[in-house]
């Protein structure tokens, strides 16, 4: 304990001093003198070294276990040897009640000990095994494939081996009867038990499904008999399966993220186009459909769909132009992109911040960012699509994968596509959701 405390650098409770009082267990005198001086171990000194230091509080450790009770000290106490006459041991006969033949054996015992029942006899436990009469057998227990003699032999074995069915099968009298499997024997035995139990009017009847057992063992055997190569192969396949599953999960997550992105775009465009609303819903209803989108870009995009302008409502007095400032978390690349589009559209970079302008301008720029992000996502998807097509063609030489035109965005029209259209393309009914 103390060591643990030391290691944990916990305060050590004052070590109880070993004094005569404590040894004697003299509880009337309370130990009050412990508190003050337990010197602390200097920083950096090993606990073992410290323990060796001389310390006034510690008694020298006793070399002998000494018993100093009374005033005599241990010197006076003498071990009392040879004070009593040793009791005799005699080679005595005994009978063992666990035996049925009353044979006598001999062992050493003290005659002074009361003769009692042989102490090991109580360990003589036997398994209860049902018996049947001839009549019962003829009436209820006949079974195809089993003669009465063989049944008797089987029950005798059950008795001899305390229902160790494996041993019963091993020692089966194969000279008189044909060989039986463990399951055969069990089946027969439990059948008999069941019938006898029913005759006795017992409620609980156990049944044994031999076929099931046989199948189970067959399977187990196959499992054990696999060769190292097979096991290796299995391990390999299991590893592959795991990888595939991980990939699938990753993809599903990305699809969901993409869906989130789309629904976000939708909700931002809710006001202008109500009809789009049904599209994301439809997509969300089957999110588990496998998706081939596999890009990190999309993932990144999700983090910041659009621009989140800080809410100035509750933050006291501020200039309205402040609300138009792009928040710091919009990356340089994006703000450059926004600027570019604004220029293309011939809009001012810093319009007069009237209430209305401010709001629309912010919304506009937010949409622009979303547009940029979706464009990026689209191009990665397309890239993915192309590379998959190349893969496919490499794996199936001679075949070519035709990609439905809806999936391909026309490169030349890119500049003019409005936000709304892109979203339409992504979510149009003909588009497989695995885009």
């Amino acid at each position: 304990m103390a060591d643990v405390r030391d290691i944990m650098e916990l305060e050590r409770p004052p070590t109880p001093e070993i004094t005569r009082e404590t040894i004697l267990g003299d509880k009337t005198k309370k130990r009050t003198s412990v508190g003050p001086k337990v010197p602390k171990r200097p920083e950096g000194m090993h606990r073992e070294v410290f323990a060796l230091l001389y310390n006034d509080n510690k008694d020298a450790p006793p070399l002998f276990p000494s018993d100093t009770i009374g005033n005599n000290g241990y010197k006076q106490t003498k071990i009392k040897l040879g004070m009593r006459k040793p009791r005799k041991w005699v080679w005595m006969p005994f009978t063992n009640p666990a035996r049925t033949d009353n044979a006598t054996f001999h062992h050493w015992r003290r005659p002074s000990d009361e003769p009692k029942e042989y102490p090991f006899a109580k360990f003589n436990k036997k398994v209860e095994i049902r018996t049947y009469t001839d009549h019962e057998y003829q009436q209820h227990l006949k079974c195809e494939g089993w003669t009465k003699e063989e049944t008797d032999h089987m029950m005798d074995l059950a008795h001899r081996f305390d229902l160790r069915f494996l041993m019963m099968a091993d020692r089966y009298d194969t000279e008189r009867f044909s060989k039986r499997s463990v399951e055969d024997i069990k089946e027969r035995y439990y059948k008999i038990c069941g019938v006898l139990a029913k005759l006795n009017g017992e409620k609980k009847i156990y049944t044994y499904d031999g076929d099931h057992e046989r199948r189970r063992k067959e399977q187990l055997k196959k499992l054990y008999d696999r060769k190292p190569e097979q096991i290796e192969e299995e391990q390999f396949l299991l590893g592959e399966l795991k990888k595939i599953e991980a990939r699938k999960k990753e993809r599903e997550r990305k699809t969901q993220d993409l869906q989130k992105l789309i629904s976000q775009a939708d909700s931002q465009n809710e006001t202008p186009r109500k009809t789009d609303k049904k599209l994301p819903k439809k997509k969300i209803s089957n999110p588990s459909r496998p998706s081939r989108v596999d890009t990190n870009h999309i993932f990144q995009v999700i983090e910041s769909a659009g621009i989140k302008f800080p809410d100035f409502k509750n933050s006291g007095v501020s200039l309205r132009s402040q609300r138009m400032k792009l928040p710091a978390n919009v990356g340089q690349k994006k703000s450059k992109g926004v600027e570019q589009i604004l220029q293309e559209m011939g809009l001012e970079l810093n319009p007069t911040p009237s209430e209305e302008i401010c709001q629309h301008f912010n919304e506009l720029r937010s949409d622009m960012v979303l547009l940029i992000e979706i464009k990026a996502a689209l191009s990665t998807c397309e890239y993915e699509l192309q590379s998959l097509r190349h893969q496919y063609e490499a794996l199936n030489p001679g075949k070519s994968l035709s990609i439905p035109p809806q999936l391909l965005s026309s490169a030349d029209g890119e500049g003019k596509i409005s936000t709304g259209e892109i979203i339409d393309v992504v979510g149009s009914p003909g588009t497989p959701s695995n885009t």
Binding site: R99, H107, D113, Y118
Partner: protein
């Protein structure tokens, strides 16, 4: 007895006999080692030859009535050549074959080793897992009728070896003189149908070693025939003088003595390599020097491994193979239990490196999902006397005392009793 319950033992003065091809182990139950290990050969000499002056046969041997042959038993008497003394083994295939000679050995054991009357002591015998019913009954009859034992019991030696190693369920690999066997034991019962046995044992090693030594021209004159020898340099021709006898030692005696000589060589020099024998690897392991009784000595290098390899490299009979075959013949449900306690016993398993190699061979055959654990007692005594020690433990356990076939039971039900009571 009052304290007996503390440890579950109750000693009733039983004797334990463990007959093997190499030797018979005899002693009192509850002791850690047998009182004596008697070689499993008996010297028989017809009586018309005058006895040697320096021995007093009347004391040493017991004459049997029919042909007044003289019998020589135990190392001290066997190792001295006597005219017309032919040596015979009473064992065959792990079972007692020659009952007359075996009785001689039993007489000797009671008289010289136990030094007490047979009717005082219950007797526990070990037997090989494939012992035949008729032999078991014969032994029972012999013990009750001739030796008037108060109680008798027979246990398969593999089960005893498992007990000695603290297991009731185990796959026992017993490598003795004439054979190596893999025996599954379940709850103290031997699964007889799954016992696998191979004739690759200590005697095979001795045979191979002898062939090898003879091929390089080593003189194998046994120590018993050598009067004096000189110290010589390595590989020099030995200089020794033979003892003078005015008769020719018999062939069987010579064969036996040479075998003992080679056996010593085998025990000190041979080693099983950890991986299948590879001359190149074996070359790099330091050689071991061995001096023969004649004084001739030389280093043995790769031969040590090459000879011992015979125990393992056989595709069907190698120790690892029979072990896995045996386990494979058992019910699938108990295979994991068997693999998780593989008990190694028998004198021949003491050949250096035996357990490591077996463990290696077996682990390559263990189904992947199972755990392999080898249990091999470290002491030579525990390994050589595994079955005997198990018998010693069993016969002195309080709860075992109800198992004995008593003389009363024998009187009532006859010898057939043994098959029912001793599974």
């Amino acid at each position: 007895m009052s304290g007996g319950m503390l440890y579950g033992g109750d000693e009733i003065g039983a004797l334990v006999f463990d007959p093997g091809h190499h030797s018979l182990r005899v002693g009192y139950a509850q002791e850690d080692t047998p009182k004596a290990e008697i070689p499993a050969v008996v010297g028989v000499a017809s009586d018309d030859v005058k006895t040697e002056p320096e021995i007093k046969p009347e004391e040493n041997n017991v004459s049997s009535t029919p042909s007044s042959n003289k019998y020589y038993i135990d190392t001290t008497f066997l190792h001295l050549p006597k005219p017309n003394m032919e040596l015979h083994s009473y064992m065959k295939d792990g079972m007692i074959e020659n009952w007359d000679l075996f009785e001689q050995i039993l007489d000797y054991s009671y008289e010289k080793i136990i030094q007490s009357e047979s009717h005082f002591h219950p007797v526990l015998f070990s037997e090989s897992p494939w012992n035949q019913r008729q032999k078991r009954e014969k032994l029972t009859e012999l013990m009750f009728e001739k030796y008037k034992v108060p109680a008798f019991f027979l246990v398969k030696n593999a089960a005893l070896a498992a007990f000695a190693n603290g297991r009731a369920t185990a796959l026992v690999i017993d490598s003795g003189a004439t054979h190596t066997s893999a025996v599954p034991v379940l709850d103290g019962y031997v699964i007889t149908n799954a016992v696998v046995k191979s004739p690759l044992g200590g005697d095979l090693l001795v045979l191979r070693a002898r062939e090898m030594l003879e091929s390089i021209g080593v003189d194998l004159t046994p120590a018993a025939l050598i009067a004096s020898k000189e110290v010589i340099r390595e590989k020099e021709k030995p200089k020794f003088t033979k003892k003078k006898f005015n008769f020719q030692p018999t062939n069987s005696w010579m064969t036996y003595m040479v075998k003992r000589t080679v056996q010593d060589f085998q025990q000190t020099v041979l080693q099983v390599s950890e991986n299948p024998y590879d001359e190149k690897v074996a070359m790099n392991i330091p050689a071991v020097q061995y001096e023969f009784p004649t004084g001739y000595h030389q280093d043995f290098g790769p031969e040590r491994f090459k000879l011992a390899e015979g125990l393992f490299d056989h595709p069907m009979l190698g120790a690892g193979y029979i072990a896995s075959t045996s386990a494979g013949m058992c019910d699938v449900d108990i295979r994991p239990a068997l693999y998780s306690s593989v008990v190694l016993t028998g004198g021949n398993s003491l050949v250096q490196g035996f357990s490591d190699r077996l463990s290696r061979d077996l682990s390559s055959r263990t189904p992947g999902s199972m755990r392999l654990k080898m249990i091999a007692a470290n002491g030579t005594v525990e390994r050589r006397f595994g079955a005997w020690v198990g018998g010693s433990i069993l016969a002195s356990i309080g709860t075992f005392q109800q198992m004995w076939v008593s003389a009363q039971e024998y009187q009532e039900c006859g010898k057939a009793q043994i098959d029912r009571k001793c599974p």
